[in-house]
């Protein structure tokens, strides 16, 4: 009820602001801000937290718990993007204010905080989530409360929602071109698939196997999954030595990653003897694993910090200026940076903060200033993006050895299910 009164007041205020001084101060108003052009009553009709000079968004990541180390980069990137947007004049004349909530690496907490952001704070959009599990937990909340989520992580696909924009790659974008490249470049015929045991590696390996067998006409010599948090890869490494595959294709995540690569090196499996392509190592992970343990191995990602293009050359220094010279930027961090920018462009195209209009205006949005280069939003709310293969160096940076063309996102790939 209070909201109704607030709206009336706002509408009345806008009326005053819009009509009375317009005749006298029209030019000044236009120069001052977008209030006159975009009155609150017009750009927001659904009770979102939008005032005449502010719009509130939520940032929902794990600041504590096991995922904090991964998600911190995303929070930093989102804050940077918001600061830059505010510097450049905001959205429809309004500055972005953000509310940070901690999902605490705990999926029900994510759902609780998502509901809080949408129901209580009435945020216009949420930048957030990292793991698939957290996204799965908040998805019903976003659909029920009609919120807008910008989700940054590369993930397994098999999902599409009006209420989510996926700024990371779905599995086929990340896997197929990488496998094509390695099959061609290394004449690879036999593949050993290794992953952590949960939905993303499982789905990724399913797609990889179909592609290897049906398209590349190679052989999958083994497919192994280690439990999450597993640290003893000795027997697995022995099996790899026995099978001598042309390529080890890996999706080991989290703490396991460190043990996995250290034990590979200790067992003498290094890049000069064994080709390894992973889809789960970004600059952030390398920081934990140590570049020296990875030298020469390949990662399949859409973004590397070392990308050589003008957008990235302004993005990387800006990020380091804000978050310190030792910070690194991984694939997901960059994807998180896209969220606020894509939202800004979409809101401006829609001329409205309303979620339904933003969702409808999303397809076709082009972001030319993305650090990864040009991206475009597909009708299925995923991004058209390129794939890069990076070869790791001892200093923790990657040498980009291959770049694909723009790949169409396809979260429900036919023939790969």
């Amino acid at each position: 009820m209070t909201k109704g009164i607030g709206n009336t007041q706002k509408r009345f205020g806008n009326f005053i602001r819009g009509v009375v001084p317009a005749a006298i101060l029209g030019a000044l108003a236009a120069a001052y801000g977008a209030d006159a052009k975009y009155p609150t009553a017009k750009v927001m009709t659904t009770g979102l937290a939008v005032t005449d000079n502010e719009v509130t968004v939520g940032i929902l990541h794990s600041l504590t718990g096991t995922m904090a180390i991964s998600e911190t980069g995303s929070v930093e990137a989102e804050k940077l993007a918001i600061a830059q947007i505010n510097e450049s004049g905001g959205i429809l004349g309004r500055k972005i204010k953000f509310i940070v909530e901690d999902g605490a690496s705990d999926w029900p907490t994510f759902a609780e905080k998502a509901r809080k952001l949408l129901v209580q704070d009435k945020v216009a959009a949420v930048m957030g989530c990292w793991t698939s599990a957290s996204r799965k937990a908040v998805l019903p909340v976003f659909e029920k409360e009609n919120g807008m989520l910008y989700y940054p992580t590369f993930y397994e696909g098999l999902e599409q929602s009006k209420n989510v924009i996926y700024t990371g790659q779905e599995a086929t974008q990340q896997i197929l071109a990488g496998l094509d490249w390695i099959a061609k470049e290394k004449k690879a015929k036999t593949f050993y698939l290794v992953g952590s045991d949960y939905i993303w590696p499982r789905t990724s390996m399913k797609i990889a196997r179909k592609h290897i067998e049906n398209v590349l006409h190679g052989t999958v010599v083994a497919e192994e999954f280690a439990p999450l948090g597993h640290t003893q890869f000795g027997s697995l490494i022995n099996k790899i030595k026995l099978k001598k595959p042309d390529v080890v294709f890996a999706a080991v995540v989290g703490g396991s990653n460190v043990s996995w690569f250290k034990q590979l090196k200790a067992a003498g499996i290094t890049a000069d003897k064994q080709t390894l392509l992973t889809i789960s190592v970004t600059e952030d992970e390398v920081l934990g694993i140590g570049g020296e343990n990875l030298v020469g191995f390949y990662s399949s990602m859409k973004y590397f910090e070392s990308l050589d293009n003008p957008n990235n050359k302004t993005f990387v220094p800006a990020f380091k200026k804000m978050w310190g010279p030792n910070s690194v930027i991984g694939d997901v961090t960059q994807a998180a940076y896209l969220g606020p920018w894509l939202w800004k462009l979409t809101v401006e195209k829609a001329g409205s903060f309303d979620v339904d209009k933003v969702a409808a205006a999303s397809p076709g949005i082009e972001l030319k200033t993305a650090p990864e280069g040009y991206v475009k939003l597909h009708e299925n709310h995923h991004l058209w993006s390129k794939l890069r293969i990076g070869q790791w160096k001892a200093d923790g940076q990657a040498l980009v050895v291959y770049e694909s063309g723009l790949i169409e996102p396809n979260p429900f790939p036919k023939g790969y299910q």
């Binding site: 901690d102 705990d106 907490t109 609780e112 799965k136 019903p140 397994e156 098999l158």
Partner: protein
């Protein structure tokens, strides 16, 4: 002396009921009036943990069996409910995009083409409602028989329950085609055609939840004040003596452990309904230990204290994490440390320390007024039992608790 003891017991029960009435008023009237549906839904979620805390008062406070794996039973109850809801949400029409329509989405991702046999009966709501309580109780029975018949107790039992929690988590995460893995069972929509996501449904579920909690409290109170309850206390303090008196100690332990499991499972099922999903993060060691903390904060001997403790800790968690997203874990840690250091008996102990005298005075006045009318005390007590009650005055604060809320009203 006998008469005095019975008299005292009676007045204690009376003030406990008063305490329950105050708690019920708080849950049924004050909270729904004070909070909007979002906050109320959160309170509902907290109250589902209170089931576990009440169960822990029974088996830990009363029976001396410290279980660090109560999340297992909470989780099993929740999963049973979630399986039913998931099957209902996965009708062939809404899952038409899958390779095998009609099965839950995560099964399809894991290349399953047929519903596993143990999912089949969860098409039935009746079966589900029975399974919610029965499956966890049965599981507790198996663990209980295996442990208590072999006289495994104390720390060893705590460690084993913790191992069970770890095993079950690994099993659920590992067999993701059958269980939904680490994501859990998500995207639950309707209960027998009734949309559980609407605000109206949330109100209804809140009150059902609160009603079940009060019922659990009453049943638990009945148990603790019965002969069985006193036997449990005796077992906790001098197990050998009870055994030498001819009682089969293990049977009582198994019973109270199953009881605690069943109550926890109710909480789990209500959790699934109110929050809309279930995940292995409620089965593991961390949530199980957290639930022990709720009980400890409330006072492990006090049934009502357990509910207050759960509410306090969870309100704290939500409040701190919303206000100080970067610091809140430290603040919660501070809260726990100060509880252990300054109020080792929890909220109930706090009450005992500071307000008990006032209550005693008020109680004496009350008794004095009633003494004239009370001529014959019922003499159903077996000899020796009133002695147990009478010789355990200080060590069992919960038994002495005269309802935490009464003193507040006697305050000036």
């Amino acid at each position: 002396m006998k008469k005095a003891a019975v008299d005292e017991n009676r007045s204690k029960d009376g003030s406990w009921l008063l305490g329950l009435a105050v708690l019920s008023a708080l849950i049924f009237i004050v909270m729904p009036l004070c909070f909007d549906i979002f906050r109320l839904n959160l309170v509902g979620k907290y109250l589902t943990y209170a089931f576990v805390a009440v169960g822990l008062v029974l088996c830990w406070g009363q029976g001396g069996i410290l279980s660090l794996g109560q999340g297992v039973f909470f989780g099993l109850g929740g999963y049973c409910m979630a399986m039913f809801l998931k099957l209902e949400a996965s009708d062939p029409k809404s899952t038409a995009i899958q390779s095998t329509p009609g099965i839950p989405d995560f099964m399809d991702w894991n290349q399953l083409t047929k519903l596993p046999w143990f999912w089949q009966p969860f098409h039935s709501l009746t079966f589900t409602l029975i399974a919610v309580v029965l499956v966890p109780s049965l599981f507790a029975f198996i663990i209980g028989v295996a442990m208590f018949k072999r006289r495994v107790g104390g720390v060893y039992f705590a460690i084993i329950t913790q191992a069970v929690a770890a095993i079950l988590t690994i099993l659920i995460v590992g067999r993701q085609g059958l269980t939904g893995g680490i994501n859990g069972i998500t995207d639950l929509k309707t209960l027998h055609g009734w949309d559980i996501r609407t605000n109206g449904a949330k109100y209804v579920l809140y009150f059902i939840n609160a009603g079940l909690l009060v019922a659990s409290l009453l049943v638990s109170k009945y148990i603790t004040s019965s002969k069985l309850g006193r036997l449990l206390l005796a077992m906790r303090d001098k197990e050998e003596r009870v055994r030498f008196s001819g009682y089969d100690v293990s049977n009582f332990k198994v019973f109270i452990f199953c009881m605690a499991a069943g109550i926890s499972a109710l909480g789990g099922a209500m959790f699934t309904l109110q929050v809309g999903f279930m995940s292995p993060s409620f089965v593991g060691i961390v949530p199980s230990v957290e639930m022990v903390i709720f009980t400890a904060v409330g006072g492990r001997m006090s049934l009502l204290g357990a509910v207050y403790g759960t509410l306090l800790v969870n309100f704290g968690k939500t409040y701190f994490s919303e206000s100080y997203p970067a610091l809140w874990l430290l603040l919660m840690g501070g809260l726990f440390i100060s509880v252990v250091m300054f109020f080792p008996n929890g909220l109930a102990g706090l009450y005992d320390q500071h307000l008990k005298k006032r209550v005693a005075a008020a109680g004496a006045r009350f008794r004095a007024g009633r003494a004239a009318g009370l001529k014959t005390a019922p003499a159903g007590e077996p000899p020796g039992m009133e002695k147990t009650a009478a010789t355990l005055p200080g060590g069992i604060p919960g038994k002495r608790t005269k309802g935490p809320k009464q003193p507040l009203e006697t305050r000036p």
